[in-house]
């Protein structure tokens, strides 16, 4: 008989080759070696093990799933909406028109000598991407109950795919920026090469915060209701529709503690050829990386309980 049961007879089983503190998952997805030829178990599932490390190796092994989930999010969104890709443009464009009317024309807010419409759009572009990525990833785990309770994979892929799917919208909305730059006669300088860096920072920040919120959302559904509110407050707390320069000198350091500040200011500086405020950018970068690492650790610690709670 190829199967034997031993009631509580663990003594009969040889001691495990791995220490009890070994990570619960030593390896994930890659094609397994022939099970007969390996002495070490490929996978350990241990009640006493905690999710240790950042789990980057396993994440890499599952990169194709990240690709497919991102692709799915994009496909479904464009298939289910009548306007499809147009939504990617409508959102920042109408926000720009609205803010131009109220802040540019009526309140006559300073915009660092740049025409207000293009100034606002250059801020709203990364902001819209950030806000949508944050909202979508924050709600992503709760919306993927069937996946979480039926299949195993690193759960981080779900919020990551939600952020990645927003990148396409960003690229589409970016296309509108080009005629705006031409129309308002903005000449690009060498500083534009820094643009991808700020896009990357936006993505990482959205991932860091979104991932943490998504895990929190599994346990506390309050997050779903708090998210739109947080996003709205965050918009006004960041120099998106106004320049940092209108903030009194003594208060700027407070604004710099908001990682979005350095990113948006940097994004605009690289487009309009202004001098980079390296201190603010450095603070934003450090905060973004810190947020990403902390939230990855936090996520890893709770991810194994998602299937029981969600």
């Amino acid at each position: 008989m190829d199967l034997k049961t031993s009631e509580r007879a663990t003594a009969a089983l040889q001691p495990p080759p791995a220490a009890p503190t070994a990570p619960s998952v030593s390896n994930g997805h890659p094609p397994a070696a022939d099970p007969d030829s390996t002495d070490q178990p490929l996978i350990w599932i241990d009640a006493d093990a905690r999710g240790a490390g950042l789990g980057l190796r396993e994440l890499w092994a599952y990169r194709e799933l990240l690709y497919f989930l991102t692709w799915r999010d994009i496909k479904i969104r464009y298939k289910q909406t009548a306007l499809g890709a147009a939504w990617a443009i409508i959102q920042p464009l109408f926000a720009m028109l609205l803010f131009t009317l109220f802040f540019g024309r009526l309140a006559r807010i300073e915009s660092d000598g740049i025409p207000y419409p293009v100034f606002a759009y250059a801020g709203l572009l990364p902001w819209t991407f950030f806000a949508n990525a944050l909202t979508n990833s924050g709600n992503s785990l709760v919306g993927s109950t069937s996946l979480i309770t039926k299949v195993y994979f690193p759960r981080m892929i779900i919020p990551a795919a939600a952020v990645a799917a927003g990148l396409l919208d960003f690229i589409i909305a970016f296309a509108i920026l080009i005629p705006l730059l031409v129309y308002y006669d903005v000449t690009l300088t060498w500083r534009v090469i820094m643009l991808p860096v700020f896009v990357l920072l936006t993505t990482l920040l959205a991932l860091g915060v979104g991932m943490w919120l998504s895990a929190l959302n599994v346990k506390y559904r309050d997050v779903r209701y708090a998210l739109p509110f947080i996003v709205q407050l965050w918009l006004f707390a960041s120099p998106v529709i106004y320049p940092l320069s209108i903030v009194p000198e003594g208060w700027r350091w407070v604004f710099a503690l908001n990682p979005v500040t350095g990113i948006i200011e940097g994004f605009r500086a690289s487009l309009f050829g202004k001098n980079f405020d390296w201190t603010t950018i450095a603070i934003s970068t450090v905060l973004t990386v810190a947020a990403l690492i902390c939230s990855t650790y936090a996520f890893r610690r709770v991810e194994e309980s998602f299937a029981d709670i969600v």
């Binding site: 009640a47 299949v151 194994e304």
Partner: protein
């Protein structure tokens, strides 16, 4: 040969109540206040005896040799699915550990991640990736998958336009082409037509013959018998028997073993304060309370209750639903219209309804029990308090009716006559 799966002292504790499940921030704040005391309490009780804790799995030990096909049998709530979820790494065990010497592919549901807006082709890729296949692997097997599912001409049609049978075929086809060393399958053959089920069983046999290890859970004992040489019988979170599938399933079906604790409840929430208190609800077949009902024989549903006062005009109703939630039938003791039903004096009573055999399809059923007064009010409703599985006791041609479309599978009287001949009863 080293076992490909080794399970040691595996246990899974579920907490029911507010701490488990999604809470709101308010509860969490309240929880923080009470937390130190709670920790004290649970450590003194050894994490065991609390009323809001349930060991879904306890002290489970077993080993599986590479290439084995292991069936897991047991009634609902026996811990089968919890075991598979732990082995699939979906949920974490509370105690013990598992060593797996191979890549695990698990199929706990057909079509996980299928999206109705996507086309058949897109879903094959998506579902394949979700189940752990690589893109080039899916591309390589794509034609084979589609041929297996017999859905070639609908590849570029959104799945929402598929019939449910087609969706299932496509989903299973993807899963059947997984190539892990360990394949875990839970209850997925319960769907689809009989021809396709046979094809799936054949495919799984091939998988096992290639030296892969298969763990298989199904309510359909004949499928377990066909596929698995050995089986585990689980009951209340523990393994009660291991051996040849034939012996294990015989033991499972043998009612004298009392593997099924009588399906009786002591307290019900909704009826506790009503004029009528429901004390017990059970499914009875062959004189014993059970949760496994042979579809060939009649069975009874018994309701024991206490009328705290005379409740004139009260009537009990039972609504039976299948696992999908479709109402199969509903019935009421109002139909009996005896003096007792009309008067409802105070005291303890039992209402029994007999359900004929050869009526229900195999599968899981849930029963909602309630009482009301016609055109007046509802006295109480207890949702889904009854739970039983209907199985087919034989595997002869009559069993085929469970695969036909329809909510029920009655055996009806057919007569076949030659044209112009007089009906006769003795041929």
């Amino acid at each position: 040969m080293k076992p490909i799966i080794r399970v040691e002292n595996l246990g899974k504790l579920y907490r029911i109540g507010a701490q488990q499940g999604h809470t709101s921030l308010r509860d969490a704040l309240a929880g923080v206040v009470g937390a130190p005391f709670k920790r004290l309490r649970s450590s003194s009780s050894g994490g065991g005896g609390r009323a809001d804790e349930i060991w879904a799995l306890r002290d489970v030990n077993f080993e599986v040799a590479p290439g084995a096909r292991l069936g897991i049998i047991g009634r609902n709530g026996a811990g089968k699915s919890t075991l598979l979820k732990i082995l699939s790494r979906i949920t974490k065990p509370t105690t013990g550990r598992v060593a797996l010497r191979g890549r695990v592919g698990s199929l706990l549901e057909v079509g996980t991640g299928f999206h109705s807006e996507l086309t058949g082709r897109e879903n094959v890729y998506l579902n394949g990736a979700i189940l752990g296949m690589r893109r080039d692997e899916i591309a390589r097997k794509f034609d084979e998958i589609v041929a297996f599912a017999e859905t070639e001409q609908f590849l570029d049609t959104p799945v929402k336009r598929y019939s449910s049978g087609m969706t299932v075929r496509l989903a299973f086809a993807v899963a059947a082409h997984l190539e892990p060393e360990i394949l875990i399958i839970d209850e997925v053959l319960a769907v689809g037509d009989i021809a396709f089920q046979k094809k799936c069983l054949g495919k799984m046999n091939d998988i096992a013959r290639e030296g892969r290890t298969v763990l298989f859970v199904s309510h359909d004992l004949s499928a377990v018998n066909a596929l698995c040489d050995t089986s585990l019988l689980m009951h209340d979170g523990s393994i009660v028997m291991t051996g040849a599938t034939r012996d294990v399933s015989a033991h499972y079906l043998d009612r004298s073993n009392k593997l099924y604790s009588p399906v009786t409840w002591a307290k019900f929430s909704d009826s506790q304060n009503a004029e009528i208190e429901l004390n017990a609800a059970s499914v009875v077949q062959g004189g014993a309370a059970t949760s496994a009902v042979d579809c060939r024989a009649p069975f009874e549903i018994r309701l024991e209750y206490q009328n705290r006062q005379a409740v004139r005009g009260a009537r009990f109703f039972i609504i039976i639903r299948n696992a999908k939630g479709d109402v199969i039938f509903s019935t009421s003791d109002y139909d009996a219209l005896t003096g007792e039903a009309a008067e409802r004096r105070a005291g303890r009573f039992t209402s029994v309804v007999s359900v004929p055999g050869d009526l229900l399809r195999t599968g899981s059923y849930y029963g909602t029990v309630g009482a009301d007064i016609k055109n007046e009010r509802i006295i109480f409703v207890e949702n889904d308090i009854l739970h039983f599985d209907v199985f087919e006791s034989g595997d002869d041609t009559l069993a085929e009716r469970h695969k036909r479309p329809g909510l029920i599978a009655p055996v009806l009287a057919w007569e076949i006559q030659a044209a112009g001949a007089k009906p006769s009863s003795d041929t």
